[in-house]
């Protein structure tokens, strides 16, 4: 489904160059659940950004269902982010001035769906994550766990084939981390999506199928 070939990413800061990824290559199959682990600065987030089409590599190629992702135009790449990828961030990144329902319907509205259809689907997804009754609540009135569930609902409402989660439980206590992770795995089964989770929580990695270890921008194992 996804194939990364010799991906390199170099950040330039004035005169200094920093090589975040040093020729990374691996493959992921549809529906696969993998964990990306490694110390800080190993290139985990950079990898996720590249896989999600948020950034472009300095060298290398990435194929998604046979299509070279980085040969796509800005418009095509934005369509890929909207229809194919679901992002879950450590800090839920919900829009505080909008309700949970508005936040969840946002990707559908961006994708061009009607407001009615978007709201219907968003309400369904909020019910699926157990927040149907709080659909009209503003994010700041929700707990940390609830906010992250809204973020998960937002990432999955468009039924993406690839979900990229960057420390999705990093900001939650153990009990909430378990709940959120359970939900993520359940939905993974339901939607048959590929799940890539960056985490420091080693106990969570044991529940995933494969672990990719990164060290200094390279695959450690």
């Amino acid at each position: 489904m996804i194939e990364l070939i010799n991906i390199k990413k170099i950040y330039k800061d004035n005169e200094r160059e920093c090589e975040a990824l040093k020729g990374l290559s691996f493959k992921l199959d549809r529906g696969e659940k993998i964990a990306v682990v490694g110390p800080s600065g190993a290139g985990k987030s950079t990898l996720l950004h590249l896989m999600g089409g948020l950034d472009r590599p300095s060298a290398g190629q990435m194929f998604f269902e046979g299509k070279n992702l980085f040969s796509l135009s800005d418009k095509e790449l934005s369509k890929y982010r909207n229809k194919t990828v679901g992002f879950i961030f450590q800090f839920h990144n919900l829009l505080s001035e909008f309700s949970a329902l508005d936040n969840v319907s946002l990707p559908l509205l961006i994708g061009g769906e009607s407001k009615r259809e978007s709201v219907k689907k968003a309400q369904g997804m909020l019910e699926r994550v157990g927040l149907g009754s709080l659909a009209h609540s503003k994010p700041n009135t929700l707990s940390g766990g609830e906010q992250q569930r809204v973020a998960i609902a937002r990432a999955l409402v468009g039924r993406p084939s690839l979900v990229l989660a960057d420390e999705p439980t990093g900001n939650l206590d153990t009990a909430n981390s378990e709940k959120v992770f359970d939900l993520l795995l359940d939905l993974n089964q339901e939607i048959n999506m590929t799940l890539v989770v960056v985490t420091h929580n080693l106990s969570l990695t044991t529940r995933l199928e494969r672990i990719i270890r990164l060290s200094d921008g390279k695959l450690a194992s």
Partner: protein
């Protein structure tokens, strides 16, 4: 466009912007700059219009100088008829002979040089557009004079003593002093004309000088802007006679005005750019304030181009609002100046005594389009530079 407006709402650009004092200061600066630019535009245009109006009030559109001094009227009229048949837009509407002579006015304060211009009083309203103030019962110019308003102000009597010094010795001069009644005053608005000219009839000029010689013919056109073309045609049709259009006759003034206009244009452009740089700062601030929303929307599938355009659109709306408010400020300030007349101009330098202004819709339209376009381009430029992957990925965690 609808989606861009929604995007703006999501980004909360305006809401966030208004919350920021710095943004409000930038907005205020743009409004003031626009206001200043509009004041400059209105005043420059006012000067141009006022000068043009005043010059055309006293001067005919074309002055055709006589070759022989008399006996040419038939030839001139035939040439005019021929040109009228040839031309469509710049039709000659009237022609009037004139004669000039130097004169000296004797007054209790001393001698004053003036130019005595003889015209056909019947054509006073057709060829000239002067502001006249004629004394009761003295409408006939055959035995009286019309003084320029500034000259009359210096004299302030109902009659004057005048001599024409052409070829006369000092003893002759004393003997030839004549008392002439004043018919009234005229005002063109140009100090140069109003302080130096006296108008009279041909009979009066003949009486004063003892000779009668036509200096030339003053010609009125339907379209004053067609004067150079018609002047050329007149010269072609009347060999030996020299035709000068009103703009050529006042070329030194127009050249000075053109230079003034060029300087003002540079100043106005700089003001517009100061305004645009204020906007540049405000947009950069907006992008910074909305950095999380931008990153989030980008990750959810909004293209970079749409995000950039959204800020461009904000800049455009910002530009239109600032232009409208700037125009309003300029309009109110100049209306107050017009009412109270705080600024007094020295007519010896500027030819007019009050600040001229022109609020034509064309100027407003040009200002609005120019201002909005600059704001749009500057905002888009900033957004294009700041909304890039390398910045976006830093804001989303």
């Amino acid at each position: 466009m609808n989606f861009l407006m929604n995007l703006e709402k999501i980004l909360g650009i305006r809401k966030k912007g208004v919350r920021s004092i710095a943004f409000a200061v930038a907005f205020f600066a743009v409004i003031l700059s626009m206001g200043l630019a509009f004041i400059c535009l209105f005043v420059i245009s006012g000067f141009q219009k006022e000068y043009q109006k005043s010059i055309l009030a006293f001067n005919a559109h074309i002055v055709l100088f006589s070759e022989q001094g008399r006996g040419e009227e038939k030839k001139v009229r035939e040439a005019i008829e021929h040109i009228n048949l040839q031309t469509q837009n710049a039709m000659i509407t009237d022609v009037s002979p004139f004669a000039v002579s130097e004169a000296v006015i004797l007054d209790s304060s001393g001698l004053k040089a003036c130019i005595l211009k003889a015209i056909d009083p019947q054509k006073l309203k057709n060829v000239y557009a002067l502001e006249l103030n004629i004394l009761d019962g003295r409408e006939d110019l055959s035995h009286s004079l019309l003084l320029g308003s500034e000259l009359a102000y210096q004299i302030s009597k109902n009659e004057i003593k005048m001599i024409i010094p052409q070829g006369a010795s000092l003893t002759d001069l004393k003997r030839s002093i004549q008392t002439i009644p004043l018919a009234g005053i005229f005002k063109s608005g140009i100090y140069e004309f109003d302080s130096r000219f006296a108008l009279t009839s041909f009979e009066m000029l003949k009486k004063l000088t003892g000779v009668f010689k036509i200096t030339g013919y003053e010609i009125a056109l339907q379209d004053p802007l067609g004067a150079p073309r018609v002047a050329k045609l007149l010269e072609e049709n009347l060999p030996g006679m020299r035709a000068i259009s009103w703009d050529e006759l006042n070329s030194s003034l127009f050249k000075a005005m053109q230079m003034e206009k060029s300087v003002f244009f540079i100043v106005v452009t700089l003001i517009f750019f100061v305004a645009a740089f204020n906007l540049l700062g405000a947009t950069a601030m907006s992008v910074y304030l909305c950095r999380y929303e931008i990153s989030l929307l980008y990750s959810l599938g909004v293209s970079k181009l749409k995000l950039q355009r959204s800020f461009g659109l904000t800049g455009f709306l910002f530009g239109i609002t600032s232009c409208l408010m700037g125009w309003l400020i300029a309009f109110l300030m100049l209306k107050l100046e017009d009412y109270y007349g705080w600024i007094k101009l020295d007519p010896k330098i500027y030819f007019i005594s009050t600040l001229p202004m022109d609020f034509g819709p064309k100027l407003f339209g040009v200002g609005l389009i120019f201002g909005s376009l600059i704001c749009f381009l500057f905002a888009l430029g900033v957004a294009k530079n700041l909304i890039q992957e390398k910045y976006i990925i830093n804001y989303i965690k």
